[in-house]
Symmetry: C2
Amino acid sequence: MRNILIIGAGRSATSLVQYILNKSQEEDLLVTIGDISIQNARKLAAGHPNAEATLIDIHNEQERREIVSDSDIVISMLPARYHIEVARDCLEFGIHLVTASYVSDEMQSLHRKAKAKGLVFMNEIGVDPGIDHMSAMQVIDRIRDNGGKMLMFESFTGGLVAPESDDNLWNYKFTWNPRNVVLAGQGGAAEFIQEGTYKYIPYHRLFRRTEFLQVEGYGRFEAYANRNSLKYRDIYGLEDILTLYRGTIRRVGFSKAWNIFVQLGMTDDSYMIPHSEDLSYRQFVNLFLPYSPTDSVELKLRHNLKIDQDDLIWDKLVELDIFNGEKTIGIKDATPAQALQKILMEKWTLQEDEKDMIVMYHKFGYELEGKKKQIDSNMVIKGEDQTYTAMAKTVGLPVAIAALKILNREITTPGVLRPIAKEIYDPILKELEDYGITFNEHFTNYLGYNPDNVGG
Amino acid sequence: MRNILIIGAGRSATSLVQYILNKSQEEDLLVTIGDISIQNARKLAAGHPNAEATLIDIHNEQERREIVSDSDIVISMLPARYHIEVARDCLEFGIHLVTASYVSDEMQSLHRKAKAKGLVFMNEIGVDPGIDHMSAMQVIDRIRDNGGKMLMFESFTGGLVAPESDDNLWNYKFTWNPRNVVLAGQGGAAEFIQEGTYKYIPYHRLFRRTEFLQVEGYGRFEAYANRNSLKYRDIYGLEDILTLYRGTIRRVGFSKAWNIFVQLGMTDDSYMIPHSEDLSYRQFVNLFLPYSPTDSVELKLRHNLKIDQDDLIWDKLVELDIFNGEKTIGIKDATPAQALQKILMEKWTLQEDEKDMIVMYHKFGYELEGKKKQIDSNMVIKGEDQTYTAMAKTVGLPVAIAALKILNREITTPGVLRPIAKEIYDPILKELEDYGITFNEHFTNYLGYNPDNVGG
């Protein structure tokens, strides 16, 4: 029997564990599921004969090293910052590693040694990063293999609520870490290139510079820019590309309303509000508005942010109950971002019977035989329920498939990797199709920004 | 003879040196002027028989300690971060110290030892901080000595161009470090209290939440909030005050136009622009606007920031020549803030025959015998020329006066101090009157925000 160790039995591990346990008999696998919560681990093991649940504290070095050294491959679903300790153990004991997280500098620094030992340290093989890499590189390589020259690459992903569970004015619910949603876009200007020109959007303008995306059968979406699109120039080998842009997908109208919170300063995570625990939602809102002895918080907000009497944005704010004078924040020493998250979680938490949805959209602009063309490619995946969510499926299945293929020596390139090479993405994308994870492609003439090269 | 050592012979030291040299005969002073530039030091010494210019590199420990140990008092006009080394020497050799800078944590940590040795380490005794402390505390103490209870303290200062040299649409020129002006307000939300309620303004809204100030003979000004007003609660003993607000003064309309740069992201100092040296002003502006194959940079900017065809803001932008396609930034690896500073310095640099102006405005709200009252107090100081500027006078004279009074044992309280005690501010403010540095007071009923305690 081969030993697979899965560390981290959180919400994102359900489909991953399901896939591996389903294959465990035919593939002769013993699956150890380790978590800081033995309940979590047991829940995922679900009494399967090939599964073993175990308590594992990754900060306990001896314990961690023992369990890692017993494995043939380790899948780390831990928060990204904890991968490195596991990776060092894997290196020492000669064990392959798979994670769905971005390659950190520390992880990258292990490349040479992992390669020398013939170990595959596969990272960024969830959904974003992961399926985005694989699906994009498959089209980019195809275009280039046919003699095409890439002009434009735009790529968008969003974790959303499925239409059948979409019942609020924001057309949004939290499908992942709410804190990341509240802080999205902070930390510096968004940076990208359009038609050869660098472009920068400061955080406070980010949600007012969206673009629309149309997905057949699902209608219209919008996207705002991610912080750093330019790092994909090197990773994808697109050094000379004229347009490179990555973004986050929301339903139309979300960003314009979210911008109200950004403008007020409610997403700030850098200071604590005195006596935050006793503050009513209404008082919280009033922190960000000028004092007035007579005017209401409502009118001050409308005036301050120029919200017309008949603007639907207003209904979105009211729906969140932010003017409630009775409900309190209830968190001691909360930052504005933490207080806002508390308010949002009350309305935007998916219920047990509700479904999430992942939307991904790529645009590839290229020139082939003197003609400018474009391929639009998109994927929509819905969750089954609150256990086998779209997020768990799209993160977990590529991880699981990659892990098994590494174990079976179908993927053998050693080193610290992303799934951007044909020998990796082709078989994985092929197998993902069996699970309904497919892309629709649309071929058009180039629709990019500047077909006739005019203006500036 | 008593030895006064002045370290740092920059633009802010002219009036300081002039005052001390004028007193040097009657007071029996030998004045050593040390600077990293011997030319600067010689220029200020100006061949005066009681003055000696010397080259001093404060990073040369031995040299610094030798010259400090020869002194009876040291005045440090160095950049704030360099005071601490000098302060440690002063402590060791038992020498008094005067600076115009904010008390750093490191400086504060010397309090106990300085006190034990009977040394006066006087700080924050320029204009802001300095004259603001003294003039505010004089009125606050007077109100409290009369049995009044402080309700409100607002305080505003601005370094501006004098009316006779005010010839641009912004009614502004750089009178001090331009970099500080470009970066003003960054680093976190502005925080203050109004009528007992905490208020926060994020950076991107700061220049749209101004208030107006009227100064007799000088017309209308506006002020935007400083970052941290609340630290003055402890310093001034205003723990229970309902309204505490500090701000920066500009001419009316400046902030609304400056906000254009903030909104675009041009004041960002956190990243470098690729190939910035070759970028035209026009291309620099275009970095912050969406790409268009047909529309002009001008129209994109107008549309993006909703600037009407007849808005004077537009003329302010045009006056700065920001749409010029020929002039280049000319600075390698410039941040947006550095590039913007370059553009502004071309238009906003005071010429040799031009004059600056310092405006300070305090509002004191208080209750006395059941009645709510208010005192407004303001000061306007104009420079004589580009040597004896308003900035040099208002920074240098309080420093010089304090130094002499410490030397003459008229100020004796030992320790790390700010000029907030009566025994310090009374004689200094009295002498400043001889140099035209006076405040006009206006008495009214309380005009604060909430005389009738209604609303919320």
